[in-house]
Amino acid sequence: MDMKVAKKKLGLKEKYRLMTRDLGWEPSYRTKDEVFPYVKYEGIKVHDWDKWEDPFRLTMDAYWKYQAEKERKFYAIIDAHAQNNGHLNITDGRYLSALKVFLQAISPGEYAAHKGFSRVGREFPGVGTQVACQMQAIDEIRHAQTQIHALSNYNKYYNGFHAFADARDRMWYNTVARSFFDDAMSAGPFEFMIAIGFSFEYVLTNLLFVPFMSGAAYNGDMATVTFGFSAQSDEARHMTLGLECIKFMLEQDPDNLPIVQGWLDKWFWRGFRVLGLVSTMMDYMLPKRVMSWREAWEIYGVENGGALFKDLARYGIRPPKGWDDAEKSIDHMSHQFMLGLYQWSFGTSLHSWIPSDEDMDWLSAKYPTTFDKYYRPRWDHIRKLAAEGKQFKNFGLAKLCQTCQLPVVFTEPDDPTMSCHRETSYKGEKYHFCSDGCQHVFENEPEKYVQAWLPMPALFREFEGDVGAWMDWVSLRDGQDNGDYVGSIDQRNFEQWRGLATSNT
């Protein structure tokens, strides 16, 4: 047997090349344009798909092995969590509102990302790019499913989770996240990669994922934090894919720069608006807070984002256009959102509440220049009304931004006493916006954004303002899912069950 010829030693890179991009070929019975019909219309020029650097080198055998190990651990823990009433270990029932937002708005987004990455995993003509996108496609369905499975047990004991699939398509505040993902998926393959792969996964994910999962850890939510740890290594892969993608586009042709910059401007602002809900969660919904939204922005926005855009400057990329306006809104947005949620809480499948004295002291310490000046007086007023037995409700029709679909609740970047409102006319119709950023997004693609389904006008068109009929339609159970946390069924049950579990009475 000593005649055996030694096999060539293949380097990792070469081996991975043989396992992926060497599988593809130039079609000759069909044209490339027929096989990849959507890759040119956005105007991105790619001269050589082989210049794509694989962001990670994972063959399927290794993928199955690593992922199965993570799945085993994850389900063992959430099974134990369900069996042992792990939901009673959370700090307080108020925390559940953060989970309700997550299940209604974010998990459906994971599924949309799964579909979107399947599409681009087919549409890009480079095998390396396709394989990386396909792996993200299968990871994203994992995330949608593990989130639903982790939160399923909460649905058995608490309100507001039961109709997440209906709420995804019909609930007014969920259209913010839904329209974001629909926007990305209706874009071409390259824009999708900038929207989800880069802006969302790379620039913004730390502002979503880290606060949510740290919030879960701080508040005793073993199920959600286990999902978070389990998804961490997937997210790391997704981030490297997003970064590789933007670099690849910029390196392929100088003409790509203005297109990519335009998408960055757009998707930074779109993403920043979606993240507004996270600011409220961090500052208001976590009974035990991790850090303030302002502090998270300093770390993950200013520091990390700043370093990233410095790195991309060599390609001619400048920070996104809305960056300064974003910075100016940081000390205001969580308060403006929570006030909005509270005044419309009769129409939300989650509870909100008036912050306690202790909460308000924390908020003024974290927001020394804004909270006491602008927001504490409003909460004091609302609290006074509540003490008189009048919950502050706004039954008025909220004006929604045509682009981000949030109610127009923000203030002027340079004057926090002035409410910010923009409008534009297009083909004889008037459209409203919450900000310059959203107005610019609209004006760049008016034909797209005039199509948006806006839930508030639809409520009046379909139900003639009959709030009860609308609640049935969104599967919101009045008196159970909505309103103030204080006095809610969730509060009563959580406190009673926790009493059973922790005392002998």
């Binding site: 060539k8 599988l23 096989v35 199965a68 396909q134 004991y157 639809a458």
Partner: protein, 330 residues
């Protein structure tokens, strides 16, 4: 003796999510149900795709198959990400052990050279066909309607990639990088492979996700897997002393047996939905399977020579019998 631990017992408010209670009744749902049914956005889609403004973002009309409820196309394996990954990880362990066994005992070098060449000539170009299958299943997942129908397709696509990678490793083990280069050259230029390559390229321009499902998963793979991995590898090569090759392709044999249960279940439900569906499926399967059979004939000849014609004929008959059981006659 039974010992029951005592736990704090509290009464849940509900058994499951509303959308699952509507479908399956008010009872606890399985994880497959929770992770699959109605998780795709269905209403109030905001914008038309810029890549094709005639379509909706999720569109049932891009295929000729019409279903009242696309969630009827249930996967009998009830695969969701976790069960899928655990199943493949187990198979991956076996495959790894098989490769290690063949390598450590030098079985590859003990193969008679003629048989080794036959194995390489038949199997290595198929890594490109498996890549084509990956493309098609990725497309079905991306554009098909409803997670129950589409999620098995991304699992299938990743399996197709895994198979292409196992075939690449087999090529490297039996013939080093030269074998992969020779296989690719044959795929591109050797007349033996051109009908099959043309078939694959023709499927890559399909944009009806259900027709892609038929052309790839029903017709081509329904003939290719039993012919190549059953007849040629497990029967013909093993009988002559090349059972080492069968160890390296065990994954493919097991995989086909498992996945065809899903493929058949999809066909059966879609055909039972309406006579129109049945007629469309019948036409597609008849046309694509006839083409697949003739494209595979020269490939079978590499190993089976003059017996290839009869072998392909028998596989085609077996294929028809299998399809007949789904309620479709070709």
């Amino acid at each position: 003796m039974q010992i029951d631990l005592r736990t704090v017992s509290i009464q849940p408010l509900r058994n499951t999510f509303d959308h699952l209670a509507r479908r399956f009744g008010d009872k606890p749902a399985s994880r497959y149900q929770e992770g699959s049914y109605d998780i795709q956005a269905a209403e109030n889609l905001h914008y038309k795709p810029t890549w094709d403004p005639d379509q909706d973002l999720y569109d049932t009309k891009i295929t000729k198959i019409v279903m009242k409820d696309w969630y009827a196309l249930k996967d009998p394996r009830q695969f969701y990400y976790s069960t899928y990954t655990l199943a493949r990880a187990r198979q991956q362990d076996t495959t790894e052990a098989n490769f290690a066994f063949v390598e450590s005992r030098g079985l590859a070098d003990m193969l008679p050279p003629a048989l080794r060449d036959t194995a390489l000539n038949v199997l290595v170009p198929l890594r490109h066909a498996a890549w084509g299958a990956n493309q098609n299943n990725t497309l079905i997942c991306g554009y098909g309607y409803g997670a129950v129908f589409t999620q098995p397709c991304i699992y299938h696509a990743m399996d197709n990639l895994g198979i292409a990678q196992y075939l690449s490793r087999l090529g490297l083990l039996l013939g080093d990088t030269e074998a992969l280069d020779a296989g690719k050259a044959a795929w591109l230029d050797d007349p033996v492979w051109q009908a099959l390559r043309r078939y694959v390229e023709d499927t890559l321009v399909l944009r009806d996700p259900f027709e892609a499902f038929v052309a790839q998963n029903v017709a081509l793979d329904g003939l290719l897997y039993p012919l190549v991995y059953g007849r040629i590898v497990d029967d013909f090569l093993s009988a002559q002393g090349a059972s080492a090759v069968a160890m390296l392709t065990q994954f493919m044999t097991d995989w086909f047996d498992e996945t065809k249960k899903w493929v058949d279940a999809v066909l059966k439900v879609a055909a039972a939905e309406s006579d129109d569906n049945r007629a469309v499926l019948q036409d597609w399967i008849a046309a694509w399977s006839a083409r697949a059979a003739s494209a595979l004939l020269p490939v079978a000849e590499i190993a089976l020579g003059a017996n290839a014609d009869a072998a392909v004929g028998e596989e085609l008959a077996g294929f028809r019998a299998r399809i007949q059981k789904t309620g479709i006659t070709i």
